[in-house]
Amino acid sequence: MDEIKQKLTSKSKQISEDRRGKILCYACLGLIVVLIISILYFIMNKGIATFTQDHLSIVEFLTGKQWNPNHHQIGALPMIVTSFLVTILAALIATPFAIGVAIFMTEYAPRKGTKALRAVIELLVGIPSVVYGYIGLMVVVPLVRKLIGGTGFGILAGTLVLFVMILPTVISLTADSLKAIPVNYRQAALALGATKWQAIYKIVLRAALPGILTAVIFGMTRAFGEALAVQMVIGNAVLMPKGLGTPTATLTSQLTSQMGNTVLGTVSNNALWSLALVLLLMSLIFNLLIRVITRKGAIK
């Protein structure tokens, strides 16, 4: 009797294993949460030092056009505008191509073709951004110079490089969302007499719309945060862009080209942290957008 009682009341090996597994998971989670919170805190803290410690105006930061932190001029508007312009333009060009390729992959291509295409696209994702930047510098910039004159450095060159860089991301996410549309949607459309193109255009694309939007926003997040490749072709002059072919700078390009030349704690350094804070906030907003779209647009 006692033996059975003991067996039933004491912990078995499986139970303690279960507990250990749980603790391990929670520990990992805790570590990551601490890490994320400290990163957020660090950037916030540093980013607002420009306004709290150095007493520069946040309005000037967001609307000013003169960037010269050494002389306490911190107008970041040209960089903010350029960052948004290259991101949006790159997404605008990439989206139709991505949708076309994704439709081909999911609806038209034979199985082998799809596999091969996927391999190529994954390869494109893996190319380091400095390589894209170098190609941009040697090929895209001279091309832009021939097409629209000027020096070739600027928004158009940046857009073209980013377009190629985000294309694979947008394609594979779009293809995933197209694939997720149940096959009976297509069958029903075909049974009602629709052509294949009608089924794709009127049914599949409509149903996959939230997924496609998410794909585009993912691409935009990548474009917004890309530093090296853009820095090589954008020209790095903190000037309001006057056209597609005039040198300008993005938030990220300014950060990469300046961080080695400033000393921690000075105004110029704090101003760079403020740029980083803007980047962080923007990526948060992009993430929120993705959440809203996926929640509202999910097929029921």
Partner: protein, 288 residues
């Protein structure tokens, strides 16, 4: 079983890595900073370790990084193209300056630009944005494309103090490394920029004479060529032990007479003039 082995191996690696980081002995020297000086120090460090042993790590990161790291005591030596006093946020009186070499800087233009010689005043006006066409300097009718260096970079600080003389530079596109600048000037019609002497023989560009003076190392030594800067290696307080020995090696004959010439710097021993932080140049007296 296999998983466990992998985990054990990984743990060992992590422990080894962390242990390795913590294992900082007196002999270890870390040099961080100026990318212009980095190749020279790297080469000298390799040679030094061959002869004397020791453990020297050389890293880039820029002059600002070098100065702030050495000030915090995170590294033993901070390389810089500018005087510590010229860098915002550095307490220069805590640092000891060791000038190891001199680097000349020359304006370069795209190969197709026909202008070969300009005056210092004209150069200033180009970078200020007053002269905008090569026509104004006797060249072809071609817009001048100014390519500047990143704000706060050593080369730019030198150019600003030696050429601009307190004038504001125009807001133009910026690049941060000698190599990229050379590429861009070679590929952009009508472009002008400035790079250190080591890059002057590259394809697609040619240097400009200033007031008829050629950008050569001899002219820098006598200050006939006026755009040059010291390459500094800063220590926090007077150097001791291994750091002191390495700095002494940097000033020795094999480095100063062989390596420095190969890499087209100018030996600190060859200089017949000296320059102060404010840019004042005086001749060096014999025996100094």
């Amino acid at each position: 079983m296999k998983k466990k082995t992998i985990i054990i191996i990984m743990l060992c690696m992590i422990v080894g890595f962390v242990g390795g980081c913590g294992n900082q002995t007196q002999n270890k020297i870390t040099v961080v900073g100026s990318t212009a000086l980095q190749p020279l120090v790297e080469k000298a460090a390799t040679e030094y370790q061959k002869e004397h042993g020791g453990n020297i790590t050389v890293q880039g990161g820029g002059s600002g990084t070098g100065l702030s790291q050495v000030q915090e005591g995170a590294v033993q030596i901070g390389d810089s193209d500018v005087f510590a006093q010229q860098q915002n946020g550095i307490r220069a009186n805590e640092l000891v300056d060791h000038k190891v070499a001199v680097a000349g800087i020359a304006p370069i233009v795209n190969q197709k630009v026909k202008v070969k010689n300009i005056t210092m005043q004209q150069l200033r006006e180009i970078f200020e944005g007053q002269i905008t066409n090569w026509k104004q300097l006797g060249g072809q009718n071609q817009k001048i494309v100014v390519i500047n260096r990143s704000k706060g970079s050593g080369t730019r600080v030198t150019f600003e103090s030696d050429v601009m003389n307190g004038w504001e530079m125009m807001n133009a596109q910026e690049q941060d490394s000698n190599g990229t600048v050379q590429q861009i000037v070679a590929n952009t019609p009508g472009a002008i920029s400035y790079i250190s002497f080591a890059y002057l023989r590259s394809q697609g560009i040619h240097p400009l004479k200033i007031d008829g003076v050629q950008p050569t190392t001899q002219n820098v030594a006598t200050n006939k060529w006026k755009i040059w800067s010291y390459e500094h290696m800063y220590t926090k307080g007077q150097p001791t032990g291994e750091t002191k020995k390495f700095l002494k090696y940097m000033l020795s004959t094999p480095v100063q007479h062989k390596m420095i010439k190969e890499m087209r710097y100018i030996s600190i021993h060859d200089m017949q003039v000296q320059k102060t932080i404010s840019g004042k140049v005086t001749p060096i007296k014999e025996g100094q």
